[in-house]
Symmetry: D2
């Protein structure tokens, strides 16, 4: 299973930004690290590489693409977004959007909705509840776990109703959030997972890593082919 | 539109029970009251009436049945449960289970799951969030509303994944709950709505009444007929 | 309830085109006709009107927009598509895409998928089966009905899994199709209904008219408001 | 992964019954055979064994239970049905109901609906279409495949709306059927797959075997624990 971890990689290199202290080598390196340990074949790609690191070769060689972006969504070229979209829809690549990736171009295009939400940054905690214990993305998890410090993401989250709702998060300040959601799109599968603010070491937390590992396994391409267009039926074929 | 409000009507008549103070004539009377004001043709029925008040005539004359029960679920006869089930499945009657009705026999039979949950009674507040503003059950509601004092119902709620998830509730003590859920069952529609503890005047709250009024409208029978069994197809029919 | 029927209105005015014989005044006039008879307040709009007939005033005054297009999807301006999208997502306008409208820009944008399918034109019949008799869009319908002559639309239909699957169609040549599908998108509701080829009098068929009338009722805006963005919670508000 | 294949095993041993010619050792032996070849650890169990072969030990040692029954559903004891139900709901065992298993007691109990359908036996063919190519149960399949001779099962199929609709079948006589459907129930997953009449060698067909192998993999337990009942929250715990 070949995973590419994409990161916009801007906050971490901003002089003095908190996220550089938490993720000195970038969020992608931490995510790639625990995925490699879990046995996946992992690459990384970042915004400022040529073609954002997502060349045709890289995309063709990716089973599951993980996306972290926040401050520079608008700098991602529409051409690359279209290629990512096509690779999910027609190639079956899994797509996992993390945290502020709710507002990334490829996620929005795959959803067909505004993907907006409520947010605030209090450094409060978040409690992530398992809603569907039968779902493979919950494997190895307790029935809930706490993220000690997080950015609050609250409903209404402007997404299509998920095919499977896996997690709902609770915040002390009065909000709830559908924090783990699954959809199929064309030949591919999409998972959104909200915890992961850049200024807290959330991707170093064991349960968070477990969710992402499970999600990669779940999002594996099936390879099932479908065709579209003019169809010559059984009678024509005779 | 003909609505029957069923109540087990036991807590309210227990000497000294708090719920008798809140609902001296019974929860069903309060619910029937605001539904009648909203223009529905409303009847009530209670556990200790003959056939629990749900005779064949009453059921045949009911478009939507509302169910409140708590301490005496086991006293509801299986024969009546089967009749309610059949009327939903094959007659298209809407069924609305309220609060502790999650553990009622007809709701459990319609769901096919255990319908268990977490609970506690702190007299804490509950914040009910609208998750799907496009759903008719949200008509006239703000994006969230608070129930000042409630019994806590928390996930994991052991229900089938809803066809539509309308509300999620938040509690200060750290829990979340899918508090408004829709399913179709056979020719009928089922709605579960969790707020409504017997010792708090929750059914006197305007937003709660609005939800139940909307749910009755949503749960109206369609009258669409389907047939089952041996099927003689187009070729036989010639 | 205010309905706007949009039609690209090109086939019907092509000299000698079959559809001009079937719909001499345009498909939109026939659809507007039976909707007006059903009591709706109906307008029409067509591609070659200024702003495609969908000015800000018209959109703001539309509760449900019905869309028929086929040969000129690419001529619909992206600006108008964005306005239609926004009016569904943020204004709650219902959107009903008919037949070849599966490939229209607003439907594709709302779905987030390719919306492709198999097709062929044999002039074969189509049998439309009710899959969910509890759904209000089936009101007044038999459990199946036949369209005598139709264009075949076959699976795999490249849409997101519907929130509600209402109809599946059967064709003699060996195909099936999810011909009636519901989704919510933002504050709005979307229905896709596949029968309706321009060269057959399908919109003059009683059952087809019933489906569209029901769909308009189902797609009514709720008016429920939600807000997005920075959120000052209960503690801030004190 | 431990699979138990349950078969009522009555048709095959009826003197002169066609199914004895097709499956001389029983349907379960054929299914167990290709599953063992696929690398699963497979047991079988039949109606006339003590406790129908489903002792506590067998159930506790089963990850996925496959169920084939037809003429003797009513002979399955309610006690065993309850144990199967509990093992799915609270133990996470996968449950795969095949063909006429739509009317089996455990499937009906897990669904909460009537599970009725239309049927006829013409010895016609069936075309099974992949509806969701992203779903792991479609792995290795063509976009459709034909079953040369089958019993017709037609809509409306009286099931809860599936969480995932994987296959729809087409029949020459004019019917369609949701032939591959997924649900989660408690900690377990349920799959229904309709092809498999006892008088045709359907379980010897390569594509059918592939579907069942895929379904077993999909239905694997997660092991995720959830608790129910009185809940002492964060404040109590201090």
């Amino acid at each position: 299973m070949k995973v590419t971890v994409w990161n916009e990689f801007r906050h971490e290199v901003e002089p003095g930004h908190e996220s550089g202290k938490v993720y000195p080598e970038g969020i992608h390196k931490v995510i790639a690290g625990f995925l490699a340990e879990a046995g996946f074949d992992v690459k990384t790609a970042t915004l400022d590489e040529p073609e954002h690191g997502l060349t045709d070769e890289v995309l063709a060689d990716t089973d599951v693409l993980i996306w972290w972006g926040h401050m520079a969504h608008h700098e991602v070229s529409d051409e690359i977004v279209q290629k990512v979209f096509d690779r999910v829809m027609f190639g079956g690549m899994g797509f996992i959007a993390l945290h502020s990736g709710h507002f990334s171009k490829p996620f929005g295009k795959l959803m067909g909705t505004g993907c907006n939400l409520k947010w605030n940054e209090y450094g409060e905690s978040e409690r992530v509840w398992v809603i569907n214990p039968a779902h493979p993305i919950t494997k190895g998890l307790p029935e809930y776990f706490d993220v000690p410090k997080t950015e609050m993401y609250g409903e209404r989250f402007d997404i299509p109703q998920p095919d499977d709702l896996v997690f709902i998060s609770w915040y002390p300040s009065g909000e709830v959030f559908r924090s783990g959601c699954c959809w199929s799109r064309g030949k591919g599968k999409v998972f959104y997972f909200s915890p992961g603010h850049e200024t807290y070491p959330i991707y170093k937390q064991k349960e968070i890593q477990q969710v992402i590992i499970n999600a990669v396994n779940w999002a594996a391409p099936t390879g099932t082919e479908v065709t579209y267009g003019r169809w010559f039926d059984r009678f024509d074929k005779k």
